[in-house]
């Protein structure tokens, strides 16, 4: 040292070093949780593999535990079909609304529509199920009296799930479109493109990965959904016949778990088979979430600075792509016929036709895209003459068009065949195709201004439909629930098996569950979030923690319930108990809390930290005194929202804590409780003649959740007002 004043060495046990490991240990709890969840599912599911045989389980066509047949195919089909239908319903509406909100709506309208969307994403699924059961199911029965005996059906399930997935799809894809740099829009408009042309050709293509991710997240949410589906699909474990008959009842994996778990003997083959189902469900959701993650990562790269050049890859199927189009058509026709004949060996005519058509359409799309890519590759590598390149692109767009038309034909035919015989349906589908082809030239000649007008007004209609559905839901519950509200209702005990009296114990139970969840999840979640944003470096252990959080976040709520039951209620022997419910709910909201905390903390500007560190504060001091106070509003908002989510969840508590009736309020952690969402489910599905009570319960639950939202926005507003950077 030149000037003699020593700086000294840092103490080995300086609190900065110690705190780092303490925080890391707490953040690792998530890893432990997910490890135990998977462990319990595997251990409990292993028995079924031995008893039933994995092949038999995965290929069996009958699910009848009472007769000893455990075939998962009807349940997997049910899950896939309901989800597919939900996406078919939600995607056009959701995407249209997102485009409207992001690109068409004036600022003031956008500021109303966006928060509405977010509120609807927070409404408990049991409320959606209730709405489906009370309003939608009778409506469908009225619309299709010949096809729907009860109204509960695949169709009803898909619509309810679709409505539930809508807010997610709208909000995430709207974010993706907002994130498209303004400069792209300006560049397009500056060249005289209309708003619609800009949207269609620049904004949507640029945001396509985000939109895809939104769709996948919506699918993920729909697949793991339990309560709403269980209430409206009829729950018959059968495969629809024909396969696309959306009037049939069906049953999903989640519904099976929720329906059969409470009554099953622990340790039996049936018990074990349910865990195997849960494993399949988790794998499905994980695969979907992983796909979303990959797509999001790719879209980040696209807007990042290090843009990858678009070098098309060499394809070994090039001879197929570049064959003359007549040959390609012949190939496709052969494929169609041979697939139909082949699959006739295994399934009936309609199923093989549909299989063949779907594969054929896929093949056409594949060839269209492939020939374009390979022509780009050859252009890039070998300098393909312009003329050839032009021919190829024309060829491939022709292929694309015919694939679309074939797809439309099959779709129309399938739907029509549910109502009338095969010949007439084919005729109807043919007429639709002819109409489309005939109107195409007229559409092409239309001026850009007219196209914009038509596009924008159809978008407006779409948004109007969505808003009307959502408003109808709230209006129905509020208008019919208000008369039920009285002091007796709020502070009374249920009477006459739920058809009279009040819901006091359910309200108290829900509050108890929330407080317990809060006490477990908040410290864990906040500390983990702080660790991840302030301390964690990009090491292997950090990646493992993040991966665990992602998995936990994607785990369907019914699986948490299953875990709670196996690990707490049975293994630790708590029985149905408040504490078991709180722990299960806490695990479920933990990833949400960690994420929102992390985001709020990261949003604190670097300059604040540097200012503090530059004055000699330790990292821990900086975190506690500067960073957290600055991020306080954001953290609290996240906490309140997660609590609102916990309040409305049914599946995790229905086999860990909730019972249908309690005659007194108990403060013991080991007693079971009543809870609003479970009470609503119980009344709506098992107690006829309790309509008023149902609406009252639904309204109280809704108000509770909306209150949380209101509180969160107040906090956010105050915080935004006080702190500006």
């Amino acid at each position: 040292m030149s000037d003699g004043s020593s700086i000294g060495k840092m103490k080995k046990f300086h609190h900065d070093n110690v705190m780092k490991y303490v925080l890391m240990a707490i953040a690792s709890v998530t890893v432990v949780i997910i490890f135990f969840i998977i462990l319990f599912i595997l251990i409990n599911g292993a028995g079924a593999i031995g008893d039933i045989g994995i092949i038999k389980f995965l290929t069996g066509l009958e699910w009848r535990p009472s007769a000893g047949s455990y075939g998962a195919v009807p349940l997997i089909t049910g899950t896939v079909m309901v989800t597919l239908g939900a996406i078919l319903f939600a995607l056009p509406l959701g995407l249209g609304s997102a485009i409207f909100i992001s690109e068409v709506a004036p600022k003031r309208l956008r500021n109303i529509l966006k928060p509405i969307c977010e509120v609807f994403a927070g409404i408990p699924s049991v409320v959606y199920g209730f709405f489906g059961l009370i309003v939608l199911v009778p409506m469908l029965r009225g619309l299709f009296p010949d096809h729907l005996l009860f109204g509960t059906s695949w169709l009803a399930g898909s619509i309810v799930l679709g409505i539930m997935a809508l807010p997610t799809i709208v909000s995430v894809s709207e974010d993706a479109m907002r994130a498209v740099p303004r400069s792209y829009r300006e560049a397009s408009m500056a060249m005289g493109a209309t708003r619609w042309e800009t949207t269609r050709r620049v904004v949507v293509p640029a945001a396509i990965s985000g939109i895809a991710a939104a769709t996948i997240l919506g699918i993920g949410r729909a697949i793991g959904e339990t309560m709403a589906v269980m209430m409206v699909t009829g729950n018959s474990p059968i495969i629809p016949a024909p396969l696309w008959n959306f009037f049939e009842m069906l049953r999903t994996i989640t519904a099976t778990l929720a329906l059969e778990m409470p009554d099953v003997v622990s340790g039996s083959t049936h018990y074990s088979a349910l865990f195997l189902l849960a494993l399949i469900l988790m794998l499905m959701v994980l695969a979907i979430n992983y796909a979303a993650k990959v797509i999001i990562r790719r879209s980040r790269r696209k807007f990042g600075d290090s843009a990858q050049p678009l070098t098309p890859s060499r394809s070994y199927l090039a001879p197929l792509y570049n064959a003359p189009s007549a040959l390609q058509m012949l190939f496709i026709l052969c494929a169609f016929v041979s697939i139909t004949i082949l699959s006739l060996l295994f399934v009936d005519m309609s199923a093989s036709l549909i299989l063949a058509s779907v594969i054929t359409v896929g093949l056409m799309l594949f060839m269209a895209v492939g020939s374009l890519r390979s022509s780009k590759y050859r252009q890039y590598k070998e300098g393909l003459p312009e003329e050839t390149r032009y021919k190829i692109s024309k060829n491939s767009s022709r292929m694309l068009r015919s694939a679309t038309l074939t797809g439309v034909f099959i779709f129309v035919w399938m739907i029509a065949s549910l109502f009338t015989d095969a010949f007439i349906s084919a005729a109807v589908a043919f007429v639709v195709i002819v109409a489309i082809v005939a109107s195409a030239p007229a559409a092409r000649r239309m001026s850009a201004g007219w196209k914009e007008k038509i596009a924008h007004s159809s978008l407006t209609v779409v948004v109007a439909i969505v808003v009307i559905i959502l408003i109808a839901l709230v209006y129905d519950i509020v208008s019919k629930g208000l008369p039920a509200l009285s002091l007796d209702f709020l502070f009374g005990y249920p009477e006459d098996g739920g058809t009279g009296g009040g819901i006091f114990p359910a309200i108290v139970g829900t509050v108890q569950l929330m407080i317990g969840t809060m006490m477990i999840a908040f410290p864990l979640g906040i500390i983990s979030g702080i660790y991840l944003s302030e301390y964690a470096k990009n090491t292997r252990s950090t990646r493992i923690i993040r991966e665990a959080i992602d998995i936990l976040n994607g785990t369907p709520s019914v699986v948490f319930g299953l875990f709670g039951m196996a690990a707490l209620v049975i293994y630790l022997g708590t029985g149905y108990a408040l504490i078991a419910g709180c722990i299960t709910l806490a695990f479920m909201v933990l990833p949400v809390i960690i994420r929102t905390t992390e985001e709020a903390v990261i949003a604190v500007p670097k300059e604040l930290r540097e200012a503090s560190l530059a004055m000699g504060a330790s990292k821990w001091e900086t975190t506690m005194k500067v960073v957290i106070p600055a991020a306080f509003g954001g953290v609290v908002t996240g906490l309140i929202l997660s609590l609102g989510r916990a309040a409305g969840e049914t599946a995790p508590i229905m086999f860990t804590a909730a019972v249908v009736f309690r005659s007194s309020i108990s403060l013991s952690l080991l007693d079971p409780v009543m809870a609003l969402p479970y009470h609503l489910y119980f009344l709506a599905s098992e107690v006829p003649g309790s309509s008023v009570m149902q609406y009252g319960t639904a309204l109280v639950l809704l108000l509770m959740v909306l209150f949380m939202f209101a509180m969160a926005s107040v906090v956010r507003y105050k915080y935004n007002k006080n702190i500006k950077w």
Binding site: A187, S188, A193, T194, F303, P309, L310, T311, E386, A448
Partner: protein
């Protein structure tokens, strides 16, 4: 001098919400000349430029009043075809903003919007525009690569080529070199001078030397007002306004 006016601006005011950003601005744009707008940050030069092809329309709460004509036609008249206007008056932005598409698709975007579908014609346009923007030699062998893989200067010239692809009459440039290094800047300046033969250019710049080097006319703006508008030599040799003189001699800015 027989310069004809492409645009005439008189008594032009603009508000963003309640805040007035332009006060009684008057100037004109002469055909096949480069007109520069200079002034300190926030003086309204970009705002004025963005009015010339109505790009301010997409800003919420923006309101204008006064006369702004293009070949004698008031562009703020009700019923003006804004798309057609922007086709005639293109714009280059401060930061290069190529679309995340290939180089080729960036160029053909405009022509396709305006109804050209023939491949041979499009290919011609790609080559012509890139040549005009002096970019052809650098990118002709990677037309199908992402435009984002080009350097900043190349990206900006690509944006210029993209604008040229639809044959505008006027090109508005909003500080086109502020995000570029000196070498790329020099190339863009050369290009602007080159373009002057066929196009009319209006350029906003905070760089006085740039204005002096390339422009024929210069307008000096200050807090939303056009303080002085004249031939560039005059502005830089003997400005009539004291404020202008103080600015160009670097006493504030």
């Amino acid at each position: 001098m027989t310069d004809t006016n492409v645009m005439d601006i008189e008594g032009f005011n603009l508000w963003y919400g309640d805040k007035q950003a332009l006060f009684d601005v008057a100037m004109n744009v002469r055909k096949n000349k480069i007109t520069a707008l200079i002034g300190p940050s926030g003086c309204g030069k970009s705002t004025l430029l963005r009015c010339m092809n109505r790009m301010n329309d997409i800003v919420d709460g923006c309101r204008v009043q006064g006369k702004m004509t293009y070949h004698g036609q008031d562009i703020y008249e009700r019923g003006t075809d804004v798309m057609a206007l922007r086709k005639r008056i293109g714009m280059i932005f401060q930061k290069p903003n190529p679309f995340p598409m290939s180089v080729r698709d960036n160029i053909t975007y405009g022509p396709k919007i305006h109804g050209i579908t023939k491949q041979s014609e499009l290919d011609e346009i790609v080559e012509r525009s890139l040549k005009q923007a002096v970019l052809w030699d650098e990118v002709h062998d990677r037309l199908d690569q992402s435009a984002l893989s080009l350097s900043g200067g190349q990206q900006q010239r690509l944006c210029i080529a993209r604008t040229l692809s639809i044959n505008p009459e006027v090109i508005l440039m909003d500080e086109p070199t502020s995000a570029l290094d000196p070498i790329a800047t020099a190339k863009i300046e050369d290009l602007a001078v080159e373009l002057e033969k066929d196009y009319t250019v209006v350029i906003v710049t905070h760089n006085m030397q740039q204005a002096a080097r390339i422009s024929d006319y210069t307008g000096f703006m200050y807090i939303g007002r056009m303080i002085e508008f004249d031939r560039t030599e005059r502005i830089f040799s003997k400005p009539s306004d004291e404020l202008t003189e103080r600015y160009i001699t670097g006493r504030f800015g």
